[in-house]
Amino acid sequence: MPRAFRIAVVLITALLILGPVGLVVYQSFLSGPFFQPNSTLTTQAYEFVLFEEEDFREAFVNSAIIAVGMTAIAVPLGCMMAFLLVRTDLPGKRFIEPLVLVPMFVSSVVLAFGFVVALGPVGLVSLWVKSFTGSIPWYLYSKTSLILIAGLTHVPHVFLYASSALRSLGSDVEEAARSAGAGPLRVAMTVSLPMIMPSILYASVLVFFLGFELFGLPLVLGDPERILVLATYLYKLTNKLGTPSYDLMAVVVVSIIFVTLPLVYTQRKLLAAASRYVAVKGKASAQRPLAIGAWRWPALGLIVAWLGVTVVIPVTALVLRSFLASWGEGVGIWENLTTAHFRELMDYPNLVRGIVNTLLIATVGGALSVGFYALVNLALHRWRSRWTAVLDYLVLVPRAMPGLIAGLAMFWLFLFTPVLQPFRQTLFSLWLAYTLVWLAYGMRLVSASLLQIGPELEEAGRVSGARPAQVSRDITLPLIKAGLIGSWVLIFVTFVREYSTGVYLLSPGTEVIGSLLVSLWGTGAVDLVTALSTVNLALILVGLGLMFALGNKRHA
């Protein structure tokens, strides 16, 4: 790929990232909103947040603790489950795999609420346990519970990265280990997982970062005990001083950006060491599932346990709630079942349009985003240059803005940049905002796949007479198909669930399910929220089920 083209792609991407982020950083040095003429340059926002606000320190520490805990839980579990479901002959894996992704389909506020309905102080499961033991052995609103739930609900993220990498491994090394006497667990730990180290590294960094950005879960589960995290602290700042304090919010974002620096640095160092684990070498070998033998039952047990706690319990509670007129202490389930909420939902204006818009952005928009991510990745592929380092640091930065302020930043960008103004009220602005904010996540799925391709495969193309672009088209892209599909699934699911990034870019006609949900939640129509979530979930499960069925057919 010609050097000029590579540099152009890097520059454009950098510009798109630095646009909104730069605006926010600029805002942090102002005394008022940047668009008001009487705002002056000052460091008072920094002084206030860093030195006077105890809440900020508390929120920062909490966020860090949750991020670490979350990563420590999600990464091992996610990797293990990916190995079990992709590399072994675990029974029923074809049905289980779509279910693993379910926590990602549900808006985090709604999912958290599902936990409340199930495991809260008067939750369905809690009351049931209480009827036997007299008390509830857990407290849903503790910090431990929050970390646990955050970790468990982010297993799908790690799973996506690990599984798409594992799909492109040949089985020869695993089988060698197996025949040498290693059990499946040993094979996983010493062979398969080390071979996908780049993917695991990426996933760890990204999940850790999501920990800083966490909003929905702490909002619902952290509120009762006033566990403050950075995103809910931002939420506080929109009201604490009367009118939203953009300058203070910007300082919080800058503090999160500073977290990206050591994070990416560590990732790059670890990645350099792990590059010897290149797996798709020239020597092709068949992919045969590893026989799991006697480990079948413990493995299934692990997966079922995770599914139970993270998926079945909250989702069932949600779905059940959508059929209940009332719930809680003293309320019987059977006598309160109703379909009234669904009937009310059907009358809700713009519901169908919202669903259609959402699916449109998620499928078509998602595919376009993946195309963009692939393009950026290919531009950086096998390019030994300092530009790649620059972009490595930059891609994570848009996600340093929690949804609340990401939405504002995107809005301001479109509002005040003459070139972008005409697009503000269209789906394009929404798409661009989503694509930018999730850049690191979509890109990493593709880059991890790219890393696993042995350079000889592409060199073989070159010496046969193919120009670099032809190599990309004929060799590289087909080989990263698993990564591209994984990326598309991630983006699809994320776009369906997204709300805050586009909230200011939405207008009548471009509403999406996320905005409908939050609208309903805001007016207290929780029953409609659960009904809509149930419908949403059903649609997605059907869609994904179809995708997996088709995908698996082609694999054979």
Partner: protein, 365 residues
């Protein structure tokens, strides 16, 4: 004969002319010049509304408005009050924004009006509004909704239901352990409306309010920002008592689930109002004025009251105002004045001072 011919001729001519008039009907009682406003609005052909009222709740209202003025294309964007504020000020700075701003965040609306964002317009309906609900012919309170106590009927025996603010304070002080973790209210730090209502409480009845706050602290009360979450938790029994809830939401839920019951406090019940104003730089000012007049009109107010947004009009109080609600006949109503007093607590220092006081009261044991 000639007279009859002349009459029938006149009538037939009127027959041609009258239908043309029917396309722009001036509402009864409005000044004659109103027809020009309608003409201007029809020429504008569109209307953009930013509001905090849920689209589903106002859909019939909008249908009626569209039927009255079919030439107007109405765009209605509902969002929460903070988003509305952020969006509006940024768009105003950039040039083009919505025409009618209608929000339940009273203090933020007054600030916008005070900062010059509102157009002066004397609505023909303004005489029907009480004095407290209008300011400078710019800000108009469009509803009069009570701030209530909500409680879980299953779990709170009738005898214990607090009927007044004083009752509430006494109840909490008397049973801190029984009510531990069972009481909930808005968090003034994070919820603009929560802050507004509690500061109003302090102005009306300082000692009782601070007693209540201290008692809430002792009883480990939980504070949230989301009305929906709070109502849901009272319904489920996780909490049993809620303080300072927005009445319209509670009412809506009560209609569907009688388990969620409510009390209009006898000693005084705060009344909040959704303030509307026409944007000064509106692209469609005439249409905005039409809409404002409509929601203040009897027809509009009746429609709003059907969705628990009780009427602000003096002549509809008995039938569609707060007085029409169960148990509302003897209460003393204390409306939050639509006026510059609301700006006092938007001052950062004042606000922070109050919040510190709040925190200290909660922690005082």
């Amino acid at each position: 004969m000639n007279k009859r011919l002349a009459l029938s001729l006149a009538l037939s001519i009127l027959g041609f002319v009258a239908p043309a008039q029917a396309q722009t009907p001036v509402p009864p009682g409005y000044p004659a010049g109103y027809a020009e406003l309608i003409e201007a609005a029809n020429k504008e052909g569109a209307l953009s509304i930013y509001s905090t009222a849920d689209a589903a709740e106002v859909s019939e209202l909008l249908t009626q408005f569209r039927a009255l003025y079919p030439k107007l294309k109405v765009e209605y964007a509902d969002q929460n009050s903070t988003e509305l504020y952020s969006r509006y000020v940024a768009e105003a700075a950039a040039g083009a924004t919505a025409d009618l701003i209608w929000s339940s965040a009273m203090d933020l609306q007054i600030k916008l009006v005070n900062d010059g964002y509102a157009m002066t317009y004397a609505s023909p309906e303004k005489s029907a509004l009480p004095e407290w609900a209008k300011w400078k012919d710019q800000a108009y309170g469009t509803t009069a909704e009570p701030i209530v106590f909500a409680y879980n009927k299953r779990l709170v025996p009738e005898a214990e239901v607090p009927r007044s603010h004083a009752d509430f304070a006494k109840l909490l002080a008397a049973q801190p352990d029984a009510l531990k973790g069972k009481v909930t209210s808005y968090d003034p730090e994070r919820s603009g409306v929560g802050f507004l209502y509690i500061t109003q409480d302090v102005q009306i009845s300082p000692s009782t309010t601070w007693d209540t706050v201290k008692a809430m602290g002792k009883a480990n009360a939980k504070f949230y920002t989301s009305t929906g979450a709070m109502i849901e938790r009272v319904v489920s029994g996780e909490h049993t008592l809620a303080y300072n809830m927005i009445g319209s939401y509670v009412l809506q839920r009560n209609r569907k689930d009688p388990n969620l019951s409510f009390v209009l406090p006898k000693d005084y019940t705060q009344v909040m109002s959704r303030i509307a104003f026409v944007s000064a730089k509106a692209k469609h000012p005439a249409s905005a004025k039409l809409f404002l007049d409509f929601i203040l009109s009897k027809a509009g107010q009746v429609e709003l009251a059907r969705h628990a947004m009780t009427s602000v009009r003096d002549d509809l109080q008995e039938t569609h105002g707060i007085r029409s609600l169960p148990g509302a006949t003897e209460v003393t109503l204390k409306p939050i004045r639509v006026g510059p007093e609301l700006l006092a607590y938007l001052d950062q220092i004042t606000r922070l001072r109050f919040l510190k006081q709040w925190q200290r009261a909660l922690a005082a044991n």
